[in-house]
Amino acid sequence: MSRPGFVLSVDAQTPPLVVFQGEKVLLERLPVDASVLYPPEALQGIRSLDEAISRALDAPVDSEPLRALLKRGSRVTIVFEDLSQPVTSRTAPDVRQRVIELVLERAAAAGVDDVELIAATGLRRRLTAHDLQRVLGERVYASFAPDHVRSHDAEDENLQVVGELADGTPIEVNGRVASSDLVISVRLATAVGNEGAAAVATKLIGAKTARARGSFAVRTAAAAAEISTDAFDDLVDTIGDKAQVFTVDVTLTPEPTGPASAFLSKREREWSLTDRALSAGLQAATRILPARARIGLAQVSGVGYGVTSVVAGKPSSVHPLTEAFLAQQQVAQFDRPADVALFGIPNPGTIGSSLNPVTAAALGLGQIFNGATAEPVVRAGGTAIFYHPLTPWFHPLHDPAYIDFFAEVLTQSTDPAVISEQFEEKFAADPWYRHVYQTSSSNHALHPFHAWYSAAPAIAHLGEIIFVGGDHGSTRRLGFKSASTLADALEMASGSVGLAPAITYVHGAPVSISEVS
């Protein structure tokens, strides 16, 4: 049994606490009487993964064992999640690789020849050969490359219609998936946040469908509606006429990967002398190193994942189990929402990259409603203070739509309704974006829009949004305020929350980019 989450009340003896600020790790002293929300301590990762996976595959929930579902001559498609974050520690193979190997062994034993692996990227960028190798392992990748393993292409011509959305737009789904006999989906869920929609098909839809589904109007309507009836409810267990879905849900927990980062996930009160020394070393290094090297530092002190549970079977039965399991990891107990909430935003672990400002902001704001707690940590109209430099850096290959979104769209307006009306069509129809999405490795043109819409409820909920250490120009462009220290930020916020607000700091890193697409 791991320790449940708890709330620390800051007093004069509290040591400075770890706060992630992009590629930096700060030690901040919080004002007295602030609360610090520690998430429940991570569950132990499963030690013997092979056994756990095999057990799940052989005794699934509400379904025949996988062996029975695989028949000679079946058309099988394996669909796996892409979280755009490294999953499991750097040296061990990816958990998806382990699951897929076991699945494929059974498929091979059954004599299945028609197997394809598809990354359920949704509107995210295509995974490069290198990415796929990392996820699937060299040997599996080599067996199926280049024709039988690929990423989902939302702009593909060969999409199949399998249903209809509420407003009449046809639901177009990946052609291969819809025409398969058996679809095995390998899904990941992290301790904070959720697994997303129950239907994996939401990540395999075409661009038009995604646009209709994710548009701002639809989102606001869905949020306002009492009952959420999703058109995708029909697609949870079967996609189209014949594709039966068998899901393997894996829940993850953050685990320190580097030798130096163990102390980052421990509660500061419990740091040993070594931990304190390491932390001092990290502080010094962060101060001295230039920004690009700091990003490399994050690799050493980064955070990876361990597996906490593996459940397989019928998606509509497995999904609630996963959700319940994850709910255990959330902190439910706290007295009342605070006036001011603090969040740190780290960088993802991919080498040499940092978050672009729009994604960073969306990640941060996603913590309001999809964070470590069941209810929002900050009251309506309160202030949220984030730590991130928001440097206007964009990956030249992955983010061309983001660059233009930042330079053209946000300069005109930050209001999602206006953005959706004036710019979405133009971006969606642009041939260059489509070209680089399909042939190169770029996010789809709608991606920045959906990221911005997903942040909109949080922006509406909050009164003030301040970024500590944020680049002044880009913070302003996004419509937020920037401060150089926490004290300044609280000063700025005092206009709306008063001079002695109730402050809560949500400790630990956000580990999932909430469901963007």
Partner: protein, 230 residues
């Protein structure tokens, strides 16, 4: 030291270690034995995972080392069991004879028996490319850092009631799958046993000896960069 020598001489690639890492405790590694390079290679691969390892070959080693083996009486099953109980893993080269051409010879039943007796998991290990790198007629490893692979399969836990021949058969199959990966790819190697339609041998008779030798020593067609300049 030996590890460094190995890494300088060849380009090793190791797969499947995760299966070994997850379960603690000693293992019985059962490997094929195409060349003299094998022991050092496996040791090097396992150096971080398995602290203590002792290696034994079914076919007795000649010369001084044979004498050493005699002295340590490593060939006896009871000695090996004792070692296993104390936490030392054992590497068994279980082929009854060393084929001179790198293919797999039938395995001795002793490995399985040991596993059944002690309850220690058996890990089939397939070694690829070592025959090519250091064939029996060479003194030193082939220059150019030839590629060699060490493939660990999933551990087989033998219950006390299992037949050692059945266990041996599953070990042999696992090693064969590993060996087949070179030519058929990962999935293809696992696929082929299930396929009774496509026979393994085209004619139904074993290949001529020289053909086997030829295939075993052919230059590997591993992944290379695309040649643009002719």
């Amino acid at each position: 030291m030996a590890g460094l020598a190995i890494r300088l001489a060849v380009t090793p690639s190791v797969h499947g270690l995760e299966h070994v890492k997850e379960q603690g405790g000693p293992f019985i590694f059962v490997a094929n034995h195409p060349s003299e390079l094998d022991e050092a290679l496996v040791r090097n691969a396992l150096r971080s995972v398995v602290p203590r390892l002792v290696s034994v070959a079914v076919e007795p080693r000649g010369g001084i080392r044979g004498l050493v083996d005699q002295a340590l009486s490593l060939r006896s099953a009871s000695r090996l069991s004792a070692l296993l109980k104390s936490g030392t893993s054992v590497l068994l080269f279980a082929e009854t004879t060393r084929t001179g051409d790198g293919s797999l010879a039938p395995l001795d039943l002793g490995a399985a028996a040991l596993g059944i007796r002690t309850g220690v998991p058996l890990v089939p290990v397939a070694l690829l490319g070592t025959f090519r790198a250091l064939p029996p007629w060479r003194l030193t490893v082939e220059p150019g850092r030839p590629r060699v692979s060490v493939l660990f399969s999933r551990p087989i836990r033998a219950g006390s009631g299992d037949e050692s021949s059945a266990v041996t058969e599953s070990i042999a199959q696992a090693i064969e799958v590993g060996l087949a990966e070179e030519s058929r790819g990962w999935y293809g190697a696992r696929r082929s046993p299930a396929d009774v339609v496509v026979p393994r041998e085209t004619e139904g008779q074993p290949e001529a000896g020289w053909r086997r030798m030829w295939k075993a020593t052919a230059t590997p067609t591993g992944p290379t960069r695309r040649r643009v300049w002719q």
